[in-house]
């Protein structure tokens, strides 16, 4: 099967869709590309050898940005944010400014690099933990995320439950993110959540709040793997075949602004990985005079098909 598919822009045009920004509600902060894992599906090619992490000066600029524009949600991601020594500083100083603060964790970093201090700071500030959990199967998980990762993630989930995360009435939210462990589309969110809830509780007594199912993004290390395994063309064709025009309305790039580890603005974390600056213009967070990006054009490329396949990536 060939990858001769229309460009994402052409497909939007064909469906008479224009992808413009809405008012920005979510500030996504990429704390760096340093990670304890080197997952095969990572769109940022994060890993233990990456040195790029957000420094304290940029963190202060991000906090000022939040203070100035009062985004509703702050979404902290990486790499493994836990490996940035300034994570506690960020959480302590940004919490309370938005309605919600989320921390995206690969769980093994939370298990290996988290001390009681970080956990108590996360709990005190009611930080929502969004954890990668691709599969209930050890072989599938370890093949995507590294040997021994499945066991560590299970132990981390048990630990988080013991601290009250995912438990009713604690106000400590624990969400799981499932990505396919190969070149295929994700299962429905509803079915995945139902199964995760049943099996995780039955086998390990683990509870959580929500599950999200997302397609893998054909960028970075995942793109390299797709090419190496001769799956790239078929995968892109599959994403294109499943283009859902209705998913465009709620795409996260419409109401989210992503800040890279060095302080530059992107329409989303995937464009960050693709080096597609917001509106294709390189703007540093310290230089922006506004957060009102409403009606600004969103930079797109063919990786965007991963966000519009099936029910979409919101």
């Amino acid at each position: 099967m060939s990858a001769s598919i229309p460009s994402f822009s052409q497909t939007l045009e064909k469906h008479k869709l224009v992808l413009l920004r809405k008012p920005t509600e979510i500030l996504q902060i990429n704390m760096g590309l340093l990670c304890n894992q080197a997952c095969k599906h990572c769109h940022l090619t994060a890993g233990p050898d990456r040195k790029e992490i957000m420094d304290i000066k940029t963190i202060d600029q991000v906090i000022d940005f939040q203070k100035k524009y009062s985004f509703k949600v702050v979404d902290i991601t990486g790499g493994a944010p836990e490996m940035n020594p300034n994570l506690i500083y960020l959480v302590e100083n940004i919490s309370g400014l938005p309605d919600k603060v989320m921390l995206r964790s690969n769980l093994s970093a939370l298990f290996d690099f988290t001390d009681d201090l970080l956990l108590s700071v996360l709990k005190k500030n009611r930080v929502i933990i969004v954890s990668s959990f691709p599969s209930l199967d050890q072989t599938q998980t370890d093949s995507q995320r590294g040997k021994g990762i499945f066991d560590k993630t299970i132990q981390a989930l048990i630990m988080l439950n013991q601290h009250g995360y995912g438990q009713k009435g604690t106000g400590l939210e624990l969400n799981l993110v499932s990505n396919p462990t190969g070149a295929y589309l994700p299962s429905s969110q509803e079915a995945t959540e139902k199964r995760y809830r049943k099996i995780l509780y039955k086998k390990w007594g683990i509870v959580f709040n929500n599950t999200f199912s997302f397609a893998n993004m054909p960028l970075g290390r995942f793109k390299d793997w797709l090419k190496r395994s001769d799956n790239y063309d078929d995968y892109i064709a599959e994403l294109y075949k499943n283009f859902n025009p209705c998913a465009v309305t709620d795409l996260m790039c419409r109401n989210l602004i992503s800040v890279s580890w060095d302080g530059f603005l992107f329409d989303c974390d995937f464009n960050l990985a693709a080096n597609l600056y917001k509106g294709t213009e390189k703007i540093h967070i310290s230089q922006t005079e506004t957060c009102s990006f409403e009606n600004d054009t969103i930079a797109v490329d063919n990786h965007c098909y991963a966000c519009t396949a099936g029910s979409g990536f919101t």
Binding site: S135, D137, Y184, S187, A191, R195
Partner: protein
Amino acid sequence: MDTYYKPDDLLKFGEIGKDAPDLAKKFFDYYGAVFSEGELSEREKSLIALAVAHTIQCPYCIDAYTKACLEKGSNLTEMTEALHVATAIRGGASLVHGVQMRNIAKKISM
């Protein structure tokens, strides 16, 4: 024609409706209804389909339902077990006819 089976032909399945649209519509509506969530989950139905695909040895179905099983959250252990169920029934179906063989042999032997 260099081969009877071409992977891309799977994508042309819908074309079967061109010369008998009413029947095709009935079939595809039924097909869609069968595989939607019921008392059995879509994941469980895909595992059954995968096992049946191996029994009838349909390369299109094996291709489609291997992918469907993975997409619905199954793993290779579960998929292989499903195949063994099909294999056991298929093998068992041969072996159980051995009773018929024994009955006939008994009847005509001294």
